[in-house]
Amino acid sequence: MAESVCRSLRDGALEGELAPALTIKDSLSSPFGFNVFSHILVQLSSHIVAGKSQSRGMVIVSLSRSPSSYTGLLKMNEVDVESSKKWIHILDCYTDPLGWKDKTRKSGDIMDPSNQILSSYKTVKDVNKLFSVICDLGRGLVGENKSRFCVAIDSLSELLRHSSMQSVASLLSNLRSHDQISSIFGLLHSDLHEERALAAVEYTSSIVASVDPFHHSVDGQGSYIRNSSEPNLTKGKLNVRSKRRNGRVRVTCEEFKVGPSGISFAPVSAVDGAAVAGLIPKVQFNLQLSEKELVDRSRVVLPFEHQGNGKPIQIYDGRRSLEESNNETTPISGGKKEESGRGEIIYFRDSDDEMPDSDEDPDDDLDI
């Protein structure tokens, strides 16, 4: 259930530290970022209502979806919306982000006074003002004391569209270093932005959860084309990289499935070897043998071992070829036989009688 991520957001920030910031990254090949975002939103909201989290309130900056969809989402997941004005506030940057309606409308504005959890924001391009409005709203929810609130940004992609990368990065870092903010999380569509903008957002966030297609290939470009013939509309993988306090990176992977009732997570079935070898230098020697090397080693014919096939033993002595040495020995032995026919020197070698004692002779396995 994306447990570790929800837990880090729930636990929030320690004194004197930056608040944890989650970026959910998705792409066209696996467009389930919003499902993950809403899942985390619901989880965190239920923690806030139950009082289990560090943050006592939540500010949702909704840029790509209407605020009513959020209230609907919370109602659907049985989060207590009646008391919602005490702990949630939605900043509506969706209806009129650039303030066009004010310019065109002649009559008075039609703000809904009964809706206390909503306020509209009309100048998305002014990121500094957005920051101060978020802080004010949050402070309004939790009070001026030590309590904290968390911030959910519906779509960082929308923010990056309206203002520069520097201002969005400074907004994120200012939010993270604010005393009263417990955690922040936002959604980003990775194929809408340049590499540098993505790298900048990843740099400023402490947890990056990327929503990947189920059969994720290494090259990002190829996967879309391959998957379009067989689109997997329900399943995918969530790869999470979280920066831990000691400087290490925790990498986890989960499978998720999107259904009508929501999203469900499962631990990943197969673990593929991570590419850690790129981190450390290659060792110049290897003490272990691969499969092929083992097979080859068993096939090597050692020169003095029993070769067991009855034929004369091939011993390569390094100076002449094998055929030559065989041919040379036969005429010489023939010559010797002739001579012994005339002079009759019969010599019996003592050692002929001796049978090689297999228990004692250490050279038994050699055929010399």
């Binding site: 270093s177 540098r196 400087g247 290490r248 990176v249 925790r250 070898a277 450390i280 230098p281 020697f285």
Partner: protein
């Protein structure tokens, strides 16, 4: 020219040992250069003495790990302990707050060398003992005091306030400035105090710039502006008795800008994060549990000479001994073919200082 030294023999390394009367924070190096300590004794050993005065040290950050902050903390703290003025620039709103995290010298000095235990457990024949001692190059590792060249800094113990409330430390925030001209002026002012002249060096200074092209800075997309700033900073530093340390995250820059910055550095280091609880890495490396990251030394500064430094190893593991003291150790790799990794010669981006050859082991 530097002071003349008597040669011991024609084959000596021609390094003179610490002249403690001069200044505890300075040490003479080869070819007329002077070293100041980086604050980490292992790093001083690796670099052959420390950072050369007048050089530009660049540290490449990893977006996923804050190890560059450890290096910066030690560097800044060592300078303050030696009463060397410091200029610190950072993209946060309140750089002064960072000074509260600077480490202080550790109180109990358990020896960092393992030799005494060696003597007890393993009795080495006397004629072989000379091969096991670490070559005592330049580092004086005696105990105590603030008058060491390099102190063992305890990262959990904050530095006493009196070190940085004096006029020694100047902090600049580069977050809101639209361009780098203001920072350049501050640096020029600082460097003017330490301009090099023919006489002996009275004091040295340190400049530390953290996360130079951080995305929240307004000038972070003005790449040529940043490059010209670093170039002029390097030129000014060359003629003064200051070491400049700049950290930057190369992943946030375009590849050509990142390469140019790397080439400008006199000493180039990079820190990298390692995955947590990774079984593959635990198999390949012994001591993985204690490691927090990796340090790569790509280039070592060599001023006044054309002879490059060739290191035995360029990748080191970053460990926190007792969670307090920063140490760098050579990697103990299992002899399993970690195929796919880069070989020693190519591990650095600028591997000018490492030789690559067929007999490279």
């Amino acid at each position: 020219m530097a002071t003349t030294r008597t040669r011991v023999s024609s084959f000596s390394h021609n390094v003179s040992f610490l002249k403690s009367s001069q200044h505890p924070g300075l040490k003479n190096g080869p070819n007329g250069t002077t070293f100041i300590s980086s604050g980490i004794s292992d790093l001083d050993k690796i670099l052959g003495g420390g950072f050369s005065l007048g050089s530009l040290v660049m540290i490449m950050e990893d977006a996923e790990a804050p190890h560059h902050m450890l290096l910066l903390r030690n560097f800044m703290s060592q300078g303050l302990l030696h009463r060397q003025p410091l200029l610190y620039a950072s993209p946060s709103k309140d750089p002064r707050a960072f000074l509260g995290t600077l480490p202080s010298p550790g109180s109990s000095k358990d020896d960092t060398s393992h030799k005494p235990s060696h003597e007890k457990d393993l009795r080495i024949a006397w004629q072989y003992k000379k091969y096991f001692g670490e070559p005592q190059l330049n580092i004086n590792t005696n105990n105590g005091g603030h008058h060491d060249y390099c102190n063992d800094l305890d990262l959990r113990k904050p530095l006493e306030r009196h070190f940085f409330t004096s006029n020694n430390v100047d902090c600049v925030s580069i977050q809101n400035s639209p361009n780098l001209d203001a920072l350049k002026d501050r640096c020029a002012e600082f460097l003017a105090q330490f301009s090099r002249n023919e006489g002996s060096i009275s004091s040295a200074g340190r400049i530390a710039i953290q996360s130079f092209c951080s995305p929240q800075c307004k000038y972070s997309d003005m790449e040529w502006h940043m490059l010209s700033f670093i170039r002029s900073l390097k030129g000014m530093a060359r003629s003064s008795n200051v070491v400049v340390v700049v950290t930057f995250p190369p992943s946030l820059l375009s590849p050509s800008c990142s390469k140019r910055l790397q080439h400008m550095a006199d000493t180039l280091l990079s820190v990298r994060a390692i995955p947590d609880e990774d079984k593959e890495l635990a198999k390949l490396l012994t001591g993985y549990q204690d490691m927090v990251g990796l340090l790569n030394v790509h280039k070592v500064a060599r001023l006044n000479t054309q002879v490059p430094v060739i290191l035995d190893a360029t990748t080191f593991s970053i460990k926190l001994q007792k969670r307090r003291f920063l140490v760098f150790e050579c990697l103990n790799q299992a002899p399993v073919d970690g195929s796919g990794g880069s070989s020693y010669g190519n591990s650095g981006v600028c591997s000018r200082s490492t030789k690559v050859g067929p007999l490279d082991f």
